[in-house]
């Protein structure tokens, strides 16, 4: 079972992130949204329409960028967009002007007439997003939009997503990059083993699950109790010899270590979603998803996770009023 008891509401006009490791069920969840995978039970409503019965109407207002780029390789970006636009029954001057707009919006002009197979990964990804914008979607679904791209391309893509969101498009994206989610998303849901284990605004999740700052250092398990003697932390996590301590004032804790004559290198940084994910699932993102109760901490401990909903899928995406869009 890829997805189990999913209950998800995405408000129109927001950017929603679905996070989780490979195999968490993110792609399956997206496939259910546009009616290609059917839930065994439950209903999925997009724009208030039941996907099971009105898939065509839903997909007319939806743009989907799949994980894998799908192009006709010998054809140019312009020709690919033309082919794709026809799936939405665009034609003539309307089709051509839309292609022009998207070539500009995603900055594809320099290679607009070069066969796609000669384009770089970043270019191809931008073209894939241009494709999914052909029909001016109310809801844009991005399945791992920036996986495998270099930092500059990621930044460029993020700015495009922000521009779309500002223009009123609802964005639903999956990622296993927590920094991406934190920068782009108004709300995120963390998925693991087909279930949503936490949902909320990124900052809110960090505040409620951990503390605002993380102190990282190398520390053998054997010396941990001696090191932390008399020190209160909100939460602590261990990955191999790396120990992460979550506190409200990281600099203060680092200073206490120094005052005790401890010379090891200490990193103080803001807590991020990656930490939340680690705390919730006990796994690193790139590793296998095998949730276990998190390590003990002086603050709140995370044990059994609550599955939202029963054995069925409930999702309501981008319901509510119409909005202006690109």
């Amino acid at each position: 079972m890829a997805v189990d008891g999913l209950d998800l509401d995405v408000v129109a006009g927001c950017c929603f992130g679905l996070l989780g490791p490979n195999g968490a069920g993110k792609t399956t969840t997206l496939r259910m949204l546009y009616g290609v995978t059917r839930p065994t039970s439950g209903t999925i409503r997009v724009f208030g329409l039941d996907v099971a019965h009105e898939a065509r109407a839903v997909r007319a207002r939806l743009g989907v960028t799949l994980q894998q780029n799908v192009f006709i390789e010998p054809l140019s970006p312009v020709e690919n967009l033309r082919v794709f636009g026809r799936y939405h029954l665009l034609h003539g001057a309307e089709l051509e002007s839309r292609i022009e707009q998207l070539i500009d919006f995603l900055e594809l002009r320099s290679h607009a007439d070069v066969p796609v197979r000669f384009l770089s990964g970043g270019f191809q990804r931008r073209l894939a997003i241009a494709q999914s914008l052909m029909n001016r979607p109310d809801l844009l679904v991005l399945d791992e939009p920036t996986t495998g791209l270099d930092p500059a391309v990621r930044l460029a893509l993020w700015s495009r997503v922000r521009a779309l969101r500002a223009a009123g498009t609802t964005v639903l994206l999956t990622t296993h990059y927590m920094d991406e989610a934190q920068r782009l998303c108004d709300r995120v849901a963390i998925m693991c083993n087909g279930r949503i284990i936490r949902e909320g605004a990124p900052e809110e999740l960090i505040r409620s699950q951990l503390a605002s700052e993380a102190v990282e250092l190398d520390c053998e398990p054997a010396e941990e109790s001696r090191l932390l003697e008399g020190i209160r932390v909100v939460h602590r996590l261990r990955s191999g010899t790396r120990l992460m301590l979550y506190v409200d004032d990281g600099a203060h804790l680092a200073e206490r270590f120094r005052n005790r004559g401890d010379r090891r290198a200490v990193v103080v940084r803001p807590t991020n979603l990656e930490d939340v994910f680690l705390a919730l699932t006990g796994t690193s993102l790139e590793g296998e998803a095998e949730p276990r109760p998190s390590t003990t901490g002086d603050g709140e401990t995370v044990k059994d996770e609550v599955a939202f909903g029963a054995d069925d899928a409930e999702a309501d995406v981008a319901g509510g009023e119409e909005r202006g869009r690109l």
Binding site: V36, G63, V64, V70, I72, L75, V83, F84, R86, Q131
Partner: protein
């Protein structure tokens, strides 16, 4: 429900790609019949004076026309469709748009028939140039080209949706298409070589029916048997398409 405009958009996808390379795609379509006719006309035809009551090359012409249609459709729905389905993921991206699985099937059938018409059309032109397409009688054979295309598009698609690896198409061509080519009235009249129950068995061969239709058209002859040929071709196509439309939905959705 099938949406014809969406099916046409699928057809246009393939046509756009084909147009890019049409010169290289169309030329072989002319060479093939020329080579066949040269071999039979100059070679075999010199030894076989009469086949089924006519010069051998004339006997062969309508049969090879149907073979061209069969090949045109078959290559499209086997290797090409398999690549679109499994490697290029073309259908997965279509399903993110209002295009539905049924539209994809209809669009692909229309495109395979188009390829059959391009192949068959080129063949017909060569036959006409060599004086082997009697006018106006042979014009009646032209609708048989898309008909044969549809039949072999339906057969090939039902195979493509189910085989586990692309390598298995070699079995499809060696053990199905090639025997059809050899034993469907194209090279010799089955009626004169088979007897009794074997003739009934031969009626099951899909290629036999378009070939018989085309040969009767070329000779401007008529027989009630032709109704059976039309019924077989349309009936089997419809049956396979009904089956395939469930198959393609199962393959693309879950």
């Amino acid at each position: 429900m099938i949406s014809v405009p969406h099916a046409v958009s699928v057809w246009r996808r393939n046509a756009t790609m084909y147009r890019r390379t049409w010169m290289w795609n169309i030329l072989p379509n002319f060479f093939e019949p020329v080579l066949y006719l040269a071999s039979i006309g100059i070679g075999v035809g010199a030894y076989v004076a009469n086949m089924g009551g006519m010069p051998y090359v004339e006997f062969l012409a309508p049969g090879l026309l149907c073979v061209a249609a069969m090949n045109g459709a078959s290559f499209e729905v086997t290797y090409n469709m398999y690549v679109r389905l499994n490697f290029e993921k073309a259908y997965d991206v279509m399903l993110t748009t209002p295009v539905d699985a049924g539209d994809i099937l209809v669009g692909e059938m229309m495109w395979a028939m188009t390829r059959a018409c391009i192949y068959g059309g080129c063949f017909y032109i060569v036959l006409a140039i060599f004086g082997l397409a009697p006018l106006p009688a042979s014009l009646l054979a032209l609708p048989i080209i898309p008909l044969a295309g549809l039949l072999f598009a339906a057969i090939g698609t039902s195979v493509s949706l189910r085989i586990p690896t692309i390598d298995m198409f070699s079995f499809y061509f060696t053990l199905f298409i090639t025997p059809l080519f050899l034993f469907s009235d194209v090279f010799f009249p089955l009626r004169e070589r088979l007897s009794g129950n074997w003739l009934w068995v031969a009626e099951a061969l899909p290629l036999l029916h378009p070939v018989r239709l085309a040969r009767y058209a070329f000779r401007s002859e008529w027989s009630p048997l032709l109704l059976w040929d039309v019924a077989y071709t349309l009936g089997l196509s419809a049956l396979l398409l009904a089956w395939t439309s469930r198959g393609i939905r199962r393959r693309l959705t879950s």
